[in-house]
């Protein structure tokens, strides 16, 4: 099985960025890559032939074949673990899988779980933390489904859908770190889904552990009943045995009815090279079998079920109400699997589950090949990558400055960075990525509205005057948790990013939780990095969608010798124009090489010039002497120069090498790439 080098590349790439990103990058890589780590080759074979039991397993479940009909809903628990990054979610999940014998507790396997024999036998990764476990408690056999949740704000919607497939969750908190921003965000998502929440305090083996302080934080922040918390060390195994009893006692079983018509809830999906689209579904009501014909409530597309099963190495078939597992049906591309969608038997429509939204891109960027001849090759690469990732939206785009390319929508900037990196590294792409734009909303006088994803779609002055009633920008509710001493500087930062403080609370004597309303546009740039540097790395940050707000936004053009360069235009808040305009003109004057003609760089809003820089014309470039051996060298150089000139983008008389765009766009003018 291949483990992807990209994982490491990404880690080093965003190395000293916030740890949120670091962890989430891993998550996304896993999410996008996991199909590659799985061998589905014998999936079908296994479905008809009982598997042999593994010799080294310490399984508490001696059955070779598990009869799922022995597990009525009251013997099932669907739960998840929510935690801030690095608080120990993966470690705890591994411990639970070992405890239930789902995977071997052979310690050699701990960091290489992807390569477990069970995966090879069953063809499904058990490591992907959505998986099923069998557990005997008080003489009763339980089927416990641990449902994985993504770990980054970019995937907030998916987190909420994963949680919607559960009845309860473990709120895992590091006992030396205490509550962090993601703990809070995840808590509220779970709370809003009405889940039972079990506080678990992890890493009590650490000398710096302060479990009691953390319990107080949980109590005061979440007003949660903490009488039933569990203190554990996922690493050393302390207290692990108390978790599953708590899960069984505290979390209610799913309430589905096996006799009702089928209602299945799709909460995760991925694309696999061998078997195609794999969906994870929770069977809310009814029964699902191989060969069933089902329909999507959202798209009303019909599918035939090719295979179903639970995420467990042992042989199990058919899905009853309450169960959670994979469904492989005749879906061609991952974009057909809409997270949050409901499925039913073709002739038996049911009321879909609430909360469904089609995937919503929050960050858009133009992507262009550095070499225009690469367009069709890269088009294929992009198609391939999006097969794996339904949340990316792609549209063709043509720029006068950069030629043919794509406008790609992402869930967030991390998502964008990972996509870009994969394109560059796995598909050998040389690309220019424009400054990301959030979707702005234009409200027209006639009451209609339109989302714009590209500065070129910004209404021109005529349209503004005659038709537009207002412009709106997307806002987020940001949660920032930090030690008190950094409050001042972080408040300054948020203020400078047009943030508006909504509330702040002391979680205990020294930790503060602040809530801000901030324009999304302000955090898709380098907000994370800034926050980390302003707080010596101690602040944690998370955010959620907060809808649209009226805003005084304008389009800033970059003009080169009076001609606007479409790929460099930006939508900005009026208050930023002066600063950004000056900075951009300056930076461009540094990356554009001297030309035969004077270059005038201007940034402007409407007809008003914000900043101007000039690059004087080149005065001299001529080789002094050229004899003998110089001649052949000179001729070779000439060939190279000729090639180079062909790749130049012309803006009037002025040649812009792709490199200038690249340097400009990748040295911090808006993308969240490192500085």
């Amino acid at each position: 099985m291949i483990s992807r080098p990209i994982l490491f590349n990404i880690r080093s790439h965003i190395n000293n960025k916030s740890y949120i990103i670091h962890r989430n990058t891993l998550y996304i890589s896993k999410r996008i890559n996991r199909s590659l780590n799985i061998n589905y080759g014998n999936l079908f074979r296994n479905a008809v032939r009982p598997l042999q039991k593994r010799g080294h397993s310490s399984s508490s479940n001696p059955n070779k074949n598990i009869d799922l009909s022995k597990f009525p809903a009251e013997n099932i628990r669907n739960f998840s673990i929510i935690a801030h990054v690095d608080h120990g979610k993966s470690t705890l999940a591994d411990r639970l899988l070992e405890l239930t014998g789902t995977i071997s507790s052979n310690h050699l396997h701990q960091q290489v779980l992807d390569k477990l024999t069970v995966e090879r036998e069953r063809g499904i990764t058990v490591k992907a933390q959505t998986c099923s476990m069998f557990y005997e408690y008080k003489n009763k056999d339980y089927l416990l489904n641990l449902i994985d949740t993504p770990g980054h704000v970019d995937f907030n919607y998916e987190v909420s859908r994963s949680l919607a497939a559960c009845q309860g969750t473990i709120l895992l908190v590091d006992s030396s770190q205490g509550i962090q921003a993601q703990t809070v965000a995840n808590f509220f998502l779970a709370f809003n889904e009405g889940l039972a929440i079990i506080p678990v305090i992890n890493k009590i083996d650490l000398p710096t552990a302060e479990p009691d302080r953390v319990i107080n934080q949980i109590e005061s922040t979440f007003e949660l009943d903490v009488s039933l918390y569990v203190k554990i060390s996922a690493k050393s195994g302390i207290g692990i045995d108390k978790i599953l009893p708590a899960v069984i006692e505290k979390i209610p079983p799913p309430s589905g009815d096996i006799n009702k018509p089928l209602k299945a809830f799709l909460f995760d999906s991925w694309y696999d090279t061998y078997v195609g689209v794999v969906c994870l579904m929770a069977i809310v009501d009814g029964k699902l079998q191989k060969g069933d014909k089902i329909m999507s409530a959202y798209s009303e597309k019909k599918y035939e079920v090719i295979d179903i099963g639970i995420m467990h190495p042992e042989q199990v078939i058919t899905g009853h109400a309450g169960q959670v597992g994979y469904v492989i049906c005749s879906m061609k591309v991952a974009t057909e699997a809409h997270i949050g969608d409901t499925f039913y038997h073709i002739k038996n429509p049911v009321e879909p589950l609430p909360g469904f939204e089609p995937a919503k891109s929050m960050v858009f960027a133009g992507v262009f090949p550095t070499d225009t001849n690469e367009f069709s090759r890269l088009d294929e690469s992009i198609t391939k990558l999006t097969l794996n990732d339904a949340s990316v939206s792609v549209q063709k785009e043509t720029s006068t400055a950069l030629g043919q390319g794509w406008r790609i929508g992402f869930l967030g900037t991390l998502h964008m960075d990972v996509f870009r990196q994969r394109l560059e590294e796995e598909h050998d792409a040389n690309i220019i990525v424009t400054r990301p734009t959030v979707p702005y909303k234009i409200i027209y006088r006639d009451g209609t509205s339109k989302l714009i994803r590209n500065p070129t779609e910004f209404p021109d002055p005529m349209e503004m005057q005659n038709k537009v009633s207002e412009l709106q920008e997307p806002m987020v509710l940001a949660t920032i948790i930090l030690p008190e001493e950094y409050m001042g500087s972080v408040m300054d930062l948020c203020g400078s990013r047009r943030g508006e403080q909504l509330e702040y609370n002391y979680m205990d004597e020294s930790r503060v939780m602040m809530k801000y309303s901030i324009p999304l546009a302000e955090i898709v740039t380098d907000f994370h990095d800034e926050l980390k540097s302003k707080s010596s790395g101690y602040a944690s940050f998370d955010y959620e969608d907060m809808g649209y707000q009226t805003s005084d936004i304008v389009k800033m053009n970059v003009l080169i010798n009076k001609k606007p360069v479409d790929a460099l235009a930006a939508i900005l808040h009026r208050s930023q124009v002066a600063h950004v305009g000056r900075e951009w003109a300056k930076k461009l004057s540094e990356v554009i090489p001297k030309q035969l003609y004077e270059v005038i760089i201007q940034t402007a809003v409407g007809g008003k010039v914000i900043a101007r820089e000039t690059i004087s014309a080149m005065r001299k470039n001529v080789t002094a002497k050229c004899y003998g051996g110089d001649v052949t060298r000179k001729m070779k150089l000439l060939e190279k120069q000729k090639e180079g000139k062909k790749k130049m983008k012309m803006i009037g008389n002025i040649e812009l090498p792709q490199k200038a765009f690249y340097d400009f766009l990748s040295t911090g003018s808006g993308t969240s790439k490192k500085k």
Partner: protein
């Protein structure tokens, strides 16, 4: 045209990457025999017996360190094998040390009629920094003596764009040089060549190149002052008065054939039987080269056919480095009758014409001393594409843009 390379020098100049070796006692006899055998070999191989040779050039290295008798025998060989008219230009490069100056009369008497001296600078401190083994006084004296011997056919080289050189420094130095000059001078901007001690200093930051603006200032003042002294810039770095341009060098630029003889020498020749042009390159190291000459008659290392694009690009590249530019007739002659306009990207050419970098002279009528040389009046009758003064200064930017 024949180029003969003498690869030995007495001292090593910091900026120089020519094929040269510091050897105070080279084997003159073996060198002579090898050079002669290469000439003879050529004549035989390409059936050139009796061809007219308009120019012979002894370059280096420091050919003025060779024995006059060596060159005498070579010239005799050339005269015997080819036809060497009495008005042929026979140039030798020389260094202006007093010992070499003493030998100039001898060189003249064996038939050399043009002398090119490497002065480089008239400032003793600069000369030291450049690694030269002569003083400015010796140099000035050498120029004077040479003029006495070679008359109008004396030229010398200066290098500008040295570290810390100001416009005023250069103005004075150049004026002093032009005061003593005959009717030709070469003025090169210092080029930092890979593999030289200067290059290493540059990489280490010990040598600092003047800024691009400073270099442009120095170039501008060079044009201004030479003009005042009545010189015409007929090529990027070459200036003449009284039509005393270097026929040999002009031959390179205008597409003529030339034989390259001696270690590391380059040549270009048309082989009529094959209807093709070839580049020839000789072995670099004198010892290896001599050995091969002794064994096979010639020290060839590479012999390669030039593609038609190579031939044409070379005509454009070198033509546009001269003020006359590329005569249509010449281009047609060397490129199987292709028209210059058909070969170039005319959209670009026209843009550069509009913006004052190039000029298309269609029907040449009047003599314009700013760019015409008498000898070429006929060749330019059918029109030329030439650079303006402004265009020449940036011709390295223009050439790649007008070629497809």
């Amino acid at each position: 045209m024949i180029y003969i390379h003498w690869p030995f020098c007495k001292s090593k100049c910091t900026y120089c990457n020519f094929n040269k070796y510091i050897d105070p006692n080279p084997d003159h006899k073996r060198m002579k025999n090898s050079l002669i055998s290469e000439i003879k070999h050529y004549v035989q191989k390409y059936d050139m017996k009796g061809r007219i040779i308009h120019s012979v050039y002894f370059g280096g290295g420091t050919p003025s360190l060779a024995l006059p008798s060596t060159f005498e025998e070579i010239l005799n060989t050339i005269a015997n094998e080819f036809t060497l008219p009495s008005n042929a230009e026979i140039t030798m490069e020389g260094n202006p040390t007093s010992t070499e100056t003493r030998k100039l009369q001898n060189f003249h008497s064996i038939g050399i009629n043009r002398l090119s001296l490497g002065l480089q600078s008239l400032d003793d401190i600069e000369l030291k920094r450049l690694g030269r083994d002569h003083t400015s006084k010796e140099a000035i004296n050498a120029v004077k003596e040479s003029i006495e011997i070679f008359g109008e056919n004396v030229t010398f080289d200066l290098i500008f764009g040295r570290e810390g050189q100001t416009v005023d420094d250069w103005r004075i130095e150049l004026k002093n040089a032009l005061e003593i000059a005959s009717n030709h001078i070469s003025l090169y901007e210092l080029t930092i060549k890979r593999g030289t001690p200067l290059y290493k200093d540059f990489i280490k930051g010990k040598f600092k190149k003047p800024s691009p603006d400073k270099l442009a200032d120095l170039y501008d003042i060079t044009l201004e002052i030479t003009k005042k002294y009545g010189f015409q810039q007929y090529e990027v770095s070459n200036f003449q008065r009284n039509e005393k341009y270097s026929k040999h060098n002009y031959g390179y630029w205008s597409g003529l054939d030339y034989l390259g003889i001696g270690p590391g020498a380059h040549g270009r020749l048309t082989v009529p039987s094959k209807e093709a042009r070839f580049r020839t390159i000789r072995r670099l190291y004198p010892e290896e080269w001599m050995k091969q000459c002794e064994e096979t008659g010639e020290g060839i290392a590479k012999y390669e056919q030039m593609s038609s694009a190579d031939v044409r690009n070379e005509l454009v590249l070198f033509g546009l480095r001269t003020r006359i530019g590329i005569p249509r007739t010449r281009f047609r002659k060397y490129s199987l009758d292709q028209e210059l306009e058909k070969y170039l990207n005319m959209e670009q050419v026209n843009k550069f014409i509009e913006d004052g970098f190039l000029v298309w002279e269609n029907n040449y009528t009047k003599y314009d001393k700013e760019w015409v040389l008498n000898d070429f009046r006929e060749e330019i009758q059918n029109g030329v594409l030439r650079p303006t003064e402004k265009g020449l200064a940036v011709i390295d930017e223009i050439v790649p843009r007008i070629l497809y």
